[in-house]
């Protein structure tokens, strides 16, 4: 399960940044890039909290 979540997170980050490179190279429209980034954001926030957060974060106060 944890591995699946990690794959989902990696996909989310991939969808966040890779489309912009494709826009730069002229192989993807800006609109599609914006849509894929929104999907990437949803994917990241739906999966990352479940494996990224540790029990004992560094205290900052």
């Amino acid at each position: 399960m944890k591995n699946l979540l990690k794959i989902g997170s990696a996909l989310g980050l991939g969808l966040t940044v890779i489309p912009s490179v494709l826009v730069f190279s002229g192989t993807l429209s800006w609109d599609t890039h914006a849509t894929l980034m929104a999907i990437g954001a949803l994917l990241w926030f739906a999966t990352a909290p479940f494996w990224l957060l540790k029990d004992e974060p560094v205290e900052t106060d």
Partner: protein, 475 residues
């Protein structure tokens, strides 16, 4: 000397920090990954959407920007590693308790209030940043670069709504949001990168080879916008170095670095500097160049939308929210020293209201460079005091932590170093015209010299045998 009022004040201050008065123990030290994550997250914030564009507005050239950021961020990392981290890992105390030993509780009280006010203004800027994104779907006019006051009813309502949500969340669940911000950090950094790359073709850059030629013409042109001063390599260097002056040479990050396994962990601040204060500032500068080219609105929300659409707006809101939230919380902690009988939620509410009101004024956001420089300068002298007290006083045969040892409640060497340094910096600014971005460097040496000199004067009548055995705290 102590009296009832002083004991009351001391109790109030100590009660708020009761869980932080002991040095961090070995088993609670944190690993490298925690510090990399912490620094990366803390320095990829909503305000990066403002700072990069302001460099463009100040007419910096591309080469000055890149070289200035490389050098300035390096100096910032070295300041964390060589000035802040060694004292943090030797004492294992946070800034509050270390400073209390040196300056006494009454002077610490004054420092806390100044700190809280600065936190409120900083959180206000972050709420303004988030509001520029929230307002877009509602078609609200955004403030421009030259706007100092609220420009529409829509803006006022948006800021108050965002400020209200941030305040309520700060009251309800600070710790959960602090954890959420760690999740958001890697995504947010990539949003900056993606925004910068995706808009390059619209600026006429279709290959890497075009970049510098077009950047010189359209992004970092070397010509400031109307009403803005000309920035040079030195402005960028010093701004990058001192953007977090309160944290490194001001010693506020002792609170974090006391959890480090050794002082070399200070070098992990490089992740924050070179991801946030290099890549993100460059990316947001590219975005604002497109906004200027399109004659569009120059505010964080609109420029992020140009780069990433809805995801860009979400990044601005999340970045502003996650950074404003702990800032309001910390301001609340500091403010609680004035209102000891208030519940924590009441103090946070009061701070949130004050912060939201300051956020109404876009001047705070649009003049962020000046505010950040002022914020660091105001708090820096106390960092110099800690440095001098820890390293220099023992070498000169003087006692460290003199206020604690002598039960002094208001250390005049520290107060003198603070006040006279700020007065000297003001004088340097007025007489020689040295801009605020550069004042931190002479200010640090002035503060150190004044504190050491006044400590000589203060301790000259103390018993020699006690001064010859200073008690350096090593965990």
């Amino acid at each position: 000397m102590t009296n009832d009022n002083t004991r009351s004040l001391t109790d109030r201050l100590d009660a708020i920090n009761e869980f932080d008065r002991e040095p961090v123990t070995q088993e609670r030290l944190q690993g490298r990954g925690d510090f990399i994550g912490l620094y990366s997250g803390e320095h990829v914030a909503g305000t990066e959407f403002v700072i990069g564009p302001l460099f463009v507005a100040h007419g910096v050239t591309g080469s000055d920007l890149i070289l200035g950021l490389l050098l300035g961020n390096l100096l910032a990392v070295l300041s964390w590693a060589f000035i802040c981290a060694p004292i943090a890992v030797s004492t294992r105390l946070n800034l509050y308790w270390k400073l209390r030993k040196i300056v006494g509780p009454k002077l610490l009280f004054v420092y806390n209030i100044v700190n809280a006010l600065m936190f409120c203004f900083l959180a206000g800027a972050m709420i303004s940043v988030a509001a520029t994104a929230v307002g877009i779907p509602f078609g609200i006019d955004m403030p421009g670069l030259s706007d100092l006051y609220p420009n529409s009813i829509g803006w006022v309502l948006t800021v108050l709504a965002v400020g209200g949500v941030v305040t309520v969340l700060a009251i309800l669940g600070f710790k959960q949001i602090a954890r959420f911000s760690k999740v958001a950090a890697p995504w947010m950094f990539l949003v900056f990168v993606a925004c910068g790359i995706a808009v390059l073709p619209q600026l006429g850059i279709t290959s890497l080879g075009d970049f510098w030629a077009v950047a010189d013409q359209k992004i970092w042109t070397g010509a400031p916008l109307e009403g803005r001063s000309q920035f040079t390599f030195w402005h960028i260097t010093f701004f990058a170095w001192f953007a977090n002056m309160a944290m490194h040479i001001g010693m506020a990050d002792m609170t974090i670095l006391r959890y480090a396994k050794n002082w070399k962990y200070g070098f992990f601040s490089a992740f924050g500097m070179y991801l946030g204060h290099f890549v993100a500032w460059i990316a947001s500068g590219i975005l604002v160049a497109l906004a200027i080219q399109n004659s569009g609105e120059i505010a964080p929300g609109p420029i992020a939308y140009l780069g990433a659409g809805i995801a860009g707006l979400a990044a601005v809101v999340i970045a502003g929210w996650t950074t404003a939230n702990p800032t309001i919380y910390r301001a609340g902690l500091a403010m609680q020293t004035i209102t000891p009988n208030w519940k924590r939620w009441k103090v946070t509410l009061a701070v949130g209201v004050m912060t939201s009101i300051t956020a109404l004024f876009p001047a705070l956001m649009m003049r962020l460079l000046d505010f950040v420089a002022l914020y660091g300068l105001l708090l820096m002298p106390m960092g110099a005091v800690i440095f001098a007290d820890f390293w220099l006083l023992p070498k000169l045969g003087l006692r460290q932590d003199y206020a604690e040892w002598k039960q002094v409640v208001f250390s005049f060497p520290a107060a003198g170093a603070w006040g006279l340094t700020l007065a000297a910096c003001w004088g340097i600014n007025v007489i020689w015209g040295l801009e605020i971005f550069f004042l931190g460097l002479p200010g640090w040496f002035i503060a150190t010299a004044i504190y050491v000199s006044l400590s000589f004067f203060q301790q000259r009548n103390s018993a020699p045998e006690s001064l010859n055995h200073p008690s350096r705290e090593v965990a």
